[in-house]
Amino acid sequence: MTPLLETRGLSKTFGGLKAVQKVDLHIGANRIVSVIGPNGAGKTTFFNCLSGIYRPDGGAILLDGQDITGRAPHQVCKLGLARTFQNIRLFPEMSVLENVLVAQFQHRSISPLPLLLRSKRFRAQEKQSRDEALGFLEFVGLAHLAEEMSGSLAYGLQRRLEIARALATQPRLLLLDEPAAGMNPQETTEMVQLISRLRDRGLAILLIEHHMKVVMTISDEILVLDHGVSIAHGAPEKVRNDPQVIKAYLGDEVPTGE
């Protein structure tokens, strides 16, 4: 069976810095895979390569067996890969609802005549989009704020809105870049619940996260990056006890001088 997402020797270099080096990864449908690693390990660069924001220097990315290496972000999105951002990237001047509506672009016909004349079908589509968008907002618990400006939302809610927006593109694989960053324990718990509900919807999730509790509770597999290199990959228990991972996080043992 072909995995939902597969990377083969994915590499990205910035000048002399090898941000991502030959990373291999398989994600099966409906799995939660976490990417962890120290700061600067190349996690976000890895995400940017997957979602088409960066063009990788080497290797290949296959989504459902289809090569998407070097495709533009909107094409990758159309094939069923959506993402959120570590530094929140909403459309601050649009309402919460409109933020989600934008994400339905690729599922909407924009043929000029019905659009300009507001044909019955176009209006029906607009209404359907709106209802669907409200459904996504309901799912993340923001439906009551639909008319608010997204820029004025509280930080934790903005993260939720990013997830709702990503859901509106109807992805099969969702990339979450530090969804629980900067959240208090209560909010973090809620985020963990949200992520497992996402999985219940049938999505596969690739997650970057620093909260080890979050990672260990919900991940099926963990990939550990250090200096752009994949140093461990497997079930949480296995990764937790991997000496190389401990070394990357805590540093080398102090050599005892002879």
């Binding site: 924001i53 001047e93 934008v102 989009s129």
Partner: protein, 425 residues
């Protein structure tokens, strides 16, 4: 405390006085007998300058007073808090159009010929501002040479009607739309693939290159421009004045343009444009084809400008390279910024204000002279200095723009949200 607040202004004024000293307070008198130039200290010369500037000071004072009053009594905040009118024009857009359309179209019946002419010009500027607003306001792409497309439309019309036996404005205007759009598309194609403000420079270059080219082409009339055939221009018929005809066509074009832009704005396309302005990377990663949408916005802008160019040429019966001067582009840009970036009705308001206010100021002195009551009220010296005011309109534009950026960066009708974005880019 109070001193430190005024220090920059005082220093600036002193610096300006020092720099302008030779031009304002000294007079150069040619001495033909000795074949030299004499430099003489001339207070009258300098005072004359300040006398000329009096109306500028008056207007600046009025603006300052307005800003202070706004801050004191919170007018603009009240306007924003009461969002009803904003929602009204979003939801009921087609209803109010049925009321305004007959009102606007009946304009010539109760306006003088010169009033109709002024409003026609204002209407053409409104079409331009509306078109530019798509690119600059909605999609967030800066365009500095918008008048280039305006002149392109006008010259396309003028040159074609010279070559063909019969090519009146009503044949040219529908053709100018796809042609202008095509030029916009070709121009946008290389630079919209790149990130950053390349479009601003490329369009600026386009407008300047277009102007220099037509200035130096013999068949395009060079600096003299082209005078159109009579049958290509707007003509009156069945007792309708040609000016009325021109007004009505401009008004209909304006309505059509508002319709087109507003329908797009309240559709997935408009949402995609705004999303690109707000955050390009996020827009791309939720499936908006950024390059195509930018090209669409820019081509549409160019197409609208080209149609406006045809109408302008058919109205004046004359095209010249002056149509695509930098100043024209900046004027339209200023209209969009003044009215409120991203708001179509703001663009209309900005265009109306920036075109009509200076024109009315020009007319003001003769109005005062003609009316005995006003003539008795307003001293002659004030009347004369009002005469000069329209000469200083660029200076006033500059002042107004700076003030807008400081006090109300979202423009007159812009939304509150714009402000936060402009303040924290």
């Amino acid at each position: 405390m109070a001193m430190s607040r005024w220090r920059p202004y005082l220093l600036g004024a002193l610096g300006l006085a020092a720099m302008t000293f030779p031009f304002l307070w000294l007079e150069l008198r040619p001495d033909f007998a000795n074949n030299t130039v004499k430099v003489a200290w001339s207070p009258a010369h300098g005072l004359k300058f300040f006398d000329d500037l009096l109306p500028v000071f008056v207007v600046a004072f009025l603006i300052w007073a307005g800003v202070r009053a706004n801050r004191q009594w919170g007018w603009s905040d009240a306007l924003e808090r009461n969002a009803a009118w904003q929602k009204a024009n979003l939801a009921g857009q087609h209803y109010w159009a049925w009321f305004t359309m007959p009102l606007v179209l009946s304009g010539p019946f109760f306006l003088s010929a010169s009033g109709t002419g002024l409003l026609t010009n204002a209407g053409i500027y409104m079409v331009l501002a509306l078109g530019l607003n798509i690119t600059v306001g909605m999609t967030g792409l800066l365009v500095l040479g918008y008048a280039g497309f305006f002149a392109f439309g006008a010259y396309f019309f003028a040159l074609t009607q010279e070559q063909l036996p019969y090519f009146p404005w009503w044949m040219a205007a529908p053709l100018a739309f796809p042609l202008g759009g095509g030029v916009g598309y070709l121009l946008g194609l290389p630079c919209l693939r790149l990130r950053g403000d390349y479009l601003a420079i490329v369009t600026l270059g386009f407008a300047e290159a277009f102007r220099e080219t037509i200035r130096n082409l013999d068949f395009a009339g060079g600096d003299q421009g082209i005078i159109l055939h009579d049958y290509s221009m707007f003509r009156g018929f069945a007792g309708i004045h040609s000016g009325t005809m021109c007004y009505v066509v401009t008004a209909l074009t304006l309505f059509l343009a508002v319709f087109l832009v507003q329908r797009l704005y309240h559709s997935p396309v408009g949402r995609a444009w705004i999303a690109i302005r707000e955050n390009e990377i996020a827009a791309a990663s939720v499936g908006v084809p950024v390059v195509q949408m930018k090209l669409l916005a820019f081509s549409l802008s160019a197409a609208i400008a080209a149609v406006a160019g045809v109408i302008y040429a058919a109205k004046d019966g004359f095209v010249s390279p002056a149509m695509c001067e930098f100043q024209q582009s900046i004027m339209v840009l200023a209209m969009v910024i003044l009215g409120g970036l991203g708001n179509s009705y703001g663009a209309l308001l900005g265009a109306g204000l920036l075109y009509l206010v200076p024109e009315y100021l020009k007319l003001l002195p003769s109005t005062i002279q003609d009316s005995p009551a006003l003539a008795a009220l307003v001293p002659a010296s004030v009347r004369d200095s009002l005469q000069d005011l329209s000469n200083y309109r660029l200076l006033l534009f500059g002042a107004v723009m700076v003030l807008m950026m400081l006090q109300r960066p979202q423009g007159l009708l812009g939304s509150r949200r714009r402000k936060t974005e402009m303040l924290h880019p």
